[in-house]
Amino acid sequence: MTLTGAAWLLLAQLASASPAAGVMFAQSATSSQQRMAPDDQALPSAQQRQQIQFDAARFDSVTANTLRGLFEDAVELGLPTRPLINRALEGSARRMTGDRIVKVVRELTAALNEAKVALGAGSTSDELVAGAEALRAGYDARTVTAVRATRTPGSAVTALVVLTDLARSGVPTGTAREAVTSIAKLPRSDEALLGLQMAVAKNAQRGPGMALDALNRYVRGTIPGSPGLSAPTTTDRKPVRPPDS
């Protein structure tokens, strides 16, 4: 005898539900089967159904229902729902309004879909989230694709996270892409990339010019024989003294 989709869902809910968890949403078995089947890639359908379970008691009923619809749409698109649920919970913890939570989750869904196109169908959930954040930080899809290509077949999560943080620190996107793609080709590049992030973050507190200078020094010191990155056109002030190493 085979279990139906509704039975799988009920079993999963019973296994994961706790007294403090509040009301868990139960997907309609038939609708979830119909929606998840076409774009399902590697995960079993039961796991996909479990993805949509979230603590609805932390939201008002209207927001919770809207979120459930968004999560179902994400499943249809073959996107991971865990990042969306986490983002919704973050908004609830920060005491945001329901409208804002829905807006942010909807934007993240669109960004994940765009990142999926840029990174390829075989990307992990973490890579998709990191790629979506890189896109939101101002990088174009070609940059995300290029960074992903440097890490094949490894994970591109660290490279994308560092790429995103460099933009936040005031490094021009072109320079950041050049630096990350250069270092990502090295062995043990994740450590080198995190070192780059730390060096830039420390010096970024002293101004964007200092962050850029620290980046150039780090790349020159990390990549043997590197002449340094091309100097971008910037109006940032000149560094007043050598940056911290």
Partner: protein, 211 residues
């Protein structure tokens, strides 16, 4: 040869006039013969003269004196310009100014919460956060605890404002933030951050990011 010019009283000469010298000698002698005036009378006379001078238009001499004292001089402008240039540039303070700027930066950097993450082994990640101000309670929230600020409180370590917690995490990427005293959300200024999507900044940590 006869003189071509005829002078009615004789031809002028450069020789001294002895009659004038004799007059001067007599005047000096008569002056010395005068009795010495008493000091009180001299002071009285001087006071009377000065008082009269003040009553009959002393403003003019005073005015002339003031004008003469404060008349603009050509070198005043040059001195003012030099003072301005030196005061603005302060060439002798280059090193000192740099030190002051660094101190100001250090103070600003110290005012930001900074932390670190460290793999403690056994699948646990240690989060540290150093706060520039005092706090009664600090909790870490993130993807790993459903963003519930009651689930993962941090413990105060020492008196330097550092709070720590060890969180078991499986490999992956996590987003997190810190909640101070249940109301203020902070991020580690040095850790990787994710773009603010509308809720506020948050940090990101990657567990077991291997090549």
């Amino acid at each position: 040869m006869a003189d071509p010019i005829e002078f009615p009283f004789g031809r002028p000469t450069d020789e001294p006039d002895f009659s004038d010298a004799e007059v001067m000698t007599r005047l000096r002698a008569s002056y010395r013969a005068l009795p010495t005036p008493p000091l009180a009378q001299v002071q009285q006379c001087a006071a009377a003269v000065l008082a009269r001078a003040g009553a009959s238009g002393a403003a003019a001499p005073v005015s002339r004196s003031v004008g003469r004292t404060f008349r603009p001089q050509w070198w005043w402008g040059a001195a003012a310009a030099a003072t301005l240039v030196v005061g603005v540039m302060r060439p002798w303070r280059g090193e000192k100014t740099q030190h002051e700027a660094d101190s100001a930066f250090a103070a600003g950097a110290a005012a930001q919460p900074t932390g670190s993450t460290r793999d403690e082994g056994d699948g646990e990640i240690r989060f540290d956060l150093t706060l520039p101000s005092t706090a009664n309670a600090v909790a870490i929230v993130g993807d790993f605890n459903g963003w519930d600020e009651t689930k993962t409180p941090m413990a105060k370590r020492g008196r330097d404002g550092t709070w720590s917690v060890r969180v078991p995490l499986s490999p992956g990427r996590y987003t997190y933030a810190f909640v101070v005293d249940g109301r203020e959300w902070l991020v580690d200024a040095l850790a990787p951050q994710v773009p603010d999507a509308g809720f506020g900044p948050a940090n990101a940590v990657i567990v077991d990011g291997e090549d």
